[in-house]
């Protein structure tokens, strides 16, 4: 009877397990298998297992740009996350200010960039904002008597341009999360603090931020992952096939795409994928540990 009780939850979960096995586990295992073979264009049907050779090749590529791509990715992630959380925090505070009129309209408008398909947003920015002939920024520069600037042709301006676009696209989500969290804080804390003479900064540092930390942690983690593995913005703005902008900006994912996925070498591409998979796993272990420690406090 006890044994049956132990088994019942597993029986209930069987459909979900099967689905997870088919949709998530099988592709990972199959990719791992392919990464051990020499499957490529020249060995399409007659591929064979070659051991860890593809991993050795993938890792020895480290000297040809992987490290700089990793550094760019880390810088990209840190800068984006810091600016995003800080900016979203203050915008959300503004939206929650007592007596603010048209709050719903502002919130709806702020959601717009997030609701738009990423591909459309990125191409709109490429043509509508950064383009040398039709872009808003260059129109303004020419109007005030300055020369046109190609914002995407060299690395630093291209990095900043990508970052501005990423913030435009990602801020609404963070604002929404912080806005929701702010509304869950009991107003009585603020009333007591005000009675004790607390000002804006004291209330924020000692009440709002500690109360928010636990609630917004999952969204910060999720956004950190999304930012770390960002591909669309950098690729579509600077290195879209047939429309290279001149910048040589690489993140880990664009680097992997350029070095492995255009070659039709499925063995090597799979090895690179598995390495990235493990990198993200390690990254997630650290972030999860951080969250656990925080919630234990």
């Amino acid at each position: 009877m006890k044994q049956r009780r132990k088994l019942t939850p597993y029986l209930y979960s069987t459909p979900a397990f099967i689905l997870i096995a088919l949709v998530i586990v099988f592709p990972i295992l199959y990719t791992a298998y392919i990464s051990l073979t020499n499957m490529n264009l020249f060995h399409w049907a007659d591929y064979e297992i070659i051991g860890l050779e593809n991993y050795v090749r993938a890792l020895t590529k480290v000297d040809s740009g992987f490290l700089s791509a990793l550094l760019v990715t880390l810088l990209w992630t840190v800068l984006n996350m810091v600016i995003q959380v800080v900016a979203a925090y203050f915008i959300a505070l503004g939206l929650n200010r007592e007596g603010l009129k048209g709050r719903r309209i502002y919130k709806t408008l702020l959601m717009f960039p997030w609701a738009m398909p990423a591909y459309v947003s990125i191409l709109l920015w490429r043509v509508g904002i950064y383009n040398t002939e039709f872009g808003l920024l260059n129109k303004i520069l020419v109007e005030i008597g300055l020369s046109k600037v190609n914002f995407l042709s060299t690395n630093v301006p291209a990095f900043l341009s990508c970052m501005v676009l990423n913030l435009w696209m990602a801020l609404p989500f963070m604002i929404m999360m912080i806005d929701g969290a702010l509304q869950s804080i009991d107003r009585s804390y603020y009333e007591s603090a005000e009675l004790d003479g607390a000002g804006f900064w004291v209330k924020n540092i000692h009440i709002t931020i500690p109360a928010l930390k636990g609630i917004i942690a999952p969204s910060v983690i999720m956004t950190t992952f999304t930012t770390f593995k960002q591909f669309d913005i950098v690729y579509l703005l600077t290195m879209q096939k047939g429309a290279y902008s001149g910048a040589t900006l690489q993140t880990v994912i664009t680097y992997a795409h350029q070095n492995a996925f255009v070659s039709n070498n499925y063995g090597l591409s799979s090895a690179v994928s598995i390495i990235i998979f493990f990198l993200i796993m390690v990254f997630s272990v650290f972030t999860n540990r951080g969250v656990k420690e925080e919630s234990n406090e």
Binding site: T8, L11, Y12, T14, P15, I18, L19, L22, N40, L41, F42, W44, A45, R57, S64, V127, N131, T132, E133, F134, V142, S147, K148, N150, S153, T154, K241, G242, A243, Y244, S245, G246, A247, T248, Q258, N259, A260, V262, S263, N264, N265, L268
Partner: protein, 434 residues
């Protein structure tokens, strides 16, 4: 309570079975495959698929996958089916986005894959190396290919085997707005450059000539004209050869007067009347006509470089390849379809209805085709145009070649140093394919 639990377990079981039933889809496909295979076998047994079908009144379907303009395919299908009406063979075109990937998946799958495909010739090497194609000469005779322009036939040849039958082709052209262009269009690239210097005001946003100056396909007329190459037949990249460097350096001064060089930018500049001329392909024509521009066209072969050579653009030849299983099981039906599509009638229909330059040389004898300025300009260009390389390694060359062009034209990088850097990247990319 027990009833509820039993019901829950039953539902879980049904859901679990439902998940696994997804894997059962193949059964039906398998049956279909069996049916098709049986049909194929029957046809093969009779050694005359179309003949048998004709005798029994059944129509043999020949399926062609493509990734192009559906109206063009419809023109080919209508014209070919008219010719095939008496043969009990019917051809259908099916659009597949990302055709290369689709053929990699279905190229050996007789049940779900096509009998033939129609696509640009440059992916030939990839399919040939995968071993999914039958030589076209196994299906049709040399007399069919003999009617085609030599450049278009050459495009479908890989490692001395003819795999493709050309249908129509595209090359870059010099297109100008007759209302904006002042005087005659120059005969030499140096005169063209002088015209550009005199008629370009980048700050005002007006240009004499625009071009996708950092796209390898659009710079190829210069590279080929200077005797350089992006990759040769033996898969050696040539980004750092003196001839290629000379061509890229020469193109650099034109690029400085051609705006950003992005496809959307240059097309919009020309269509909005801010650029007097554009170097582009026939795919731009419909947009240009919609913009109400009085279009003039000149072949790029009519421009002479300082070394005395004509500009030599790449050509992309839309060709048909036959999948191995179709060549084995539907040989006669496939041959009849290919012969019909190769006919001058299809070529004339393509030129008159879809503005395509036919591969069949005889089609140009038609009065209307001969009067079509754009098609005749492409025919002139076909004499100096070089088919895009069709070796598989070309697929990894676009990246390094275009990165080199963008570095030089957009970021102001040194040509020689960049050429070395991207030559090395190209070598790595080619090595990574193995």
């Amino acid at each position: 309570m027990t009833m509820k639990r039993k019901m829950s377990l039953l539902l879980c079981g049904v859901m679990a079975l439902g998940c696994l039933c997804g894997c059962g889809g193949d059964t039906q496909t398998g049956n279909d495959a069996q049916t098709n295979a049986d049909a194929g076998t029957e046809a093969a047994a009779g050694n005359d698929a179309a003949g048998d079908a004709g005798a029994s009144g059944e129509v043999t379907e020949v399926k062609i996958w493509h990734d192009g303009d559906e109206s063009i395919m419809q023109t080919i299908a209508d014209c070919a089916n008219e010719q095939l009406a008496a043969e009990s063979v019917h051809v259908t075109f099916e659009k597949k986005t990302g055709l290369t990937d689709q053929l990699q998946l279905y190229g050996t799958d007789e049940a779900n894959g096509p009998d033939m495909y129609l696509y640009a010739h440059d992916s030939l090497g990839t399919f040939a190396e995968m071993g999914i194609l039958a030589p076209i000469t196994d299906v049709i005779g040399d007399e069919v290919l003999g009617e085609m322009l030599p450049m278009t036939v050459e495009a479908g040849n890989y490692k001395d085997t003819q795999y493709l039958m050309p249908v129509y082709y595209e090359t870059l052209l010099f297109m100008y707005n007759k209302e904006l262009w002042e005087g005659e269009v120059p005969e030499t690239t140096e005169d063209l450059y002088e015209y550009m210097v005199a008629h370009t005001d980048a700050d005002a946003g007006t240009y004499a000539v625009v071009n996708q100056h950092s796209t390898a396909y659009n710079v190829a007329p210069f590279i080929n004209g200077f005797g350089g190459y992006i990759i040769d037949k033996d898969a050696n990249p040539g980004l750092n050869t003196p001839e290629t460097i000379e061509a890229i350096t020469y193109n650099q001064k034109f690029a400085a007067l051609q705006a950003d060089g992005d496809y959307n930018t240059v097309t919009a500049l020309f269509n909005e009347g801010k650029a007097a001329a554009i170097i582009g392909g026939p795919w731009l024509v419909s947009g240009i006509r919609e913009a109400g521009i009085d279009l003039g066209i000149k072949s790029l072969s009519d421009f002479t470089l300082p070394n005395g050579n004509a500009l030599a653009p790449y050509s992309g030849v839309q060709s048909i390849g036959v999948l191995k299983y179709a060549a084995e099981n539907k040989k006669d039906a496939v041959a009849k379809v290919l012969t019909a599509i190769a006919s001058p009638e299809v070529g004339i229909a393509l030129a008159n209805q879809s503005n395509c330059a036919p591969a069949n040389d005889k089609a140009y004898a038609d009065e209307n085709v001969a009067a079509n300025e754009m098609i005749m300009a492409m025919k002139v260009t076909a004499e100096t145009a070089q088919p895009m390389p069709n070796i598989p390694q070309m697929s990894v060359m676009w990246g390094p070649a275009e990165s080199l062009l963008a570095a030089v034209n957009k970021s102001g990088a040194n040509v020689e140093e960049s050429a070395e850097q991207y030559q090395n990247e190209a070598l790595t990319a080619i090595a990574d394919m193995q």
